[in-house]
Symmetry: C2
Subunit: 333 residues, 2 copies
């Protein structure tokens, strides 16, 4: 668990896209952000107060989060001076980069000397159990996709926000590094050892109040040849009561797999429900989330109407229209 | 890759069951075994020549394989003297135990001093790629089960033997630690990092002659809540042309999951085929392997006949009757 609140480190990000981890934290957990730290040449801006390390500590920041990704996922030498100073000022560091903080000898030495923590959220910090398959109290909803990177994290964050807006009891459960940095906790599922995948998701979504919902971030797709096993472990470990189907209609082939077309929403619904019902016979598909970023407003509206009619389920683009329709469907379940 | 041939270390095994790894090696790769090493009190016997370490080295043995499991998967202190002597005599050591050779400081020091290797086959030794989903040349057959531990390894080893007996080109591909010790190579799939599971199986079953078959050991079950993700990665990474369905008819519930009944052979056939056809649209179910160890001869015969009639597929217990019927089905494909 990463200590909040954060100072967001934007480094020398050439543009806003390079700082999309910081943007996610700012968008979804603004209360976790006391400010941003930008170096010379930084062109990203989270519209947070620019702060020095000392100012941010005074304002209560506990952790400096690397909210920027450069090419190759490297920890840039240009950043090192700031990171070392941050440790000396009393910050923990958190990163979702491929290259690990713990493999940078200078950071390890300073962190040790100062008694600070280095959080590499790509690496599991917990010895997860093997899944028991036993029923837990409380309810769970999981996003399942026709493909990778169709908006499952966005959908579940928006759904969680909409449910809380309605006064429902809801917790977003992160299963990837960006989600973990946003909320400060979760399971980096793609880095978990095969035998413990489903168990890690049971651990992430334990017994809870009967009217509480865990809103579980999806990963991969049952139809994605590279990552389908991760998706199935998530379905069996999460034991969802409800599925949200996620899709990006303009995509021509599965992400990273040029020879593979996308499955239909109906195929994903039927396959995911059949698999989910092995552990939770009551599981229902309750809504559809469409990523319409490559469509005009009119195209998006027409597409969503067509999907609603075809599937008999509420369909939204949570980015354009919010996720309240999906929250309402869960409330009605 | 573990150097063969082996000297099989039976230690102080209280009975034959405790030495079932050694039994598997002896049964399936007798040519890999020059002899056995037994300590005082050992009640297991592979009917191999009893040898001292020196005798086995003279006979050509390269690796001492720990063919015995004691309670807790520990490396017993009683074994240590033999293991250290073996390293000094020029043996590598290989083990599938939960406790790792590499975590025993004395063994590590002696191995280093003597220039020998410690093989812990539970731990991947390779940086596997992410699966590409691309078509490979050659053919592949995979065992899929209604449950864990229904005889998938035995089935694929017997099938590989039957295919070679017929003059077919066949390679058994191990995906678990016993299979890896038997053949000296393979992928310990249950210990692979989630994102690389399917890629590890692509790596294990590369391009080959058009008439060559990889016979891939199955793991888990699509219907087993704890391990289904591993099974699906195996289907998508293996991209099988043919499936053998494996079942143990007297089992009352899924292994380790008292609340879960077993799926039918038809359910496993339909689900596994649907998933396999995402990567290989030509995939067929070609036969059924039934573990009849808890049935009489007459019961087994009646059950196999019933399954053949019901499924329209050849059904055998490879332990009782060999796997030639399954090999014939593959030859006819």
């Amino acid at each position: 668990m990463i200590e909040t609140p954060y100072l967001l480190f934007l480094g020398d990000a050439p543009d806003g896209l390079a700082a999309k981890v910081a943007q996610g934290i700012k968008d979804w957990r603004p209360e976790n952000c006391v400010g941003q730290f930008r170096m010379d040449g930084c062109n990203a801006d989270m519209k947070l107060p620019d702060m020095t390390l000392t100012e941010a500590r005074v304002a209560g920041a506990k952790t400096l989060v690397i909210g920027v990704a450069n090419r190759g996922g490297k920890i840039s030498q240009a950043w090192k001076k700031v990171l070392v100073n941050a440790l000396e000022e009393g910050f923990d560091l958190a990163s979702g980069l491929h290259n690990l903080l713990r493999n940078e000898r200078d950071l390890v030495e300073v962190a040790k000397a100062c008694g600070r923590n280095l959080h590499d959220v790509r690496i599991p910090q917990v010895e997860y159990p093997i899944a028991s398959g036993e029923k837990r109290t409380g309810k769970r909803v999981l996003a399942v996709g026709t493909d990778c990177s169709v908006g499952k994290m966005y959908t579940t964050l928006a759904l969680d926000a909409a449910m809380r807006e309605r006064g429902m009891k809801s917790t977003f459960r992160a299963t990837g590094q960006t989600g973990i940095l946003i909320t400060g906790e979760g399971v980096p599922l793609d880095a978990v050892i095969a035998d413990f995948m489903a168990g890690s998701i049971e651990w992430l979504t334990p017994d809870n109040d009967p009217d509480h919902w865990d809103v579980i971030e999806g990963q991969g797709s049952l139809y994605h040849a590279s990552f389908s096993g991760v998706s199935l472990a998530l379905i069996h470990g999460g034991a969802p009561d409800a599925l949200i189907l996620c899709h990006e209609p303009t995509r021509r082939h599965m992400r990273g797999l040029p020879g593979y077309g996308l499955p239909s929403l109906e195929e994903v619904r039927d396959t995911a429900l059949a698999m989910a019902r092995i552990v939770n016979p009551e599981c229902q598909a309750v809504g559809v989330s469409i990523n319409t970023q490559h469509m005009s407003d009119a195209e998006a509206r027409a597409y969503l109407e067509e999907v609603e009619a075809r599937m008999g389920l509420p369909a939204v683009d949570p980015y354009r229209h919010g996720a309240d329709k999906l929250a309402a469907a869960l409330a009605a379940l």
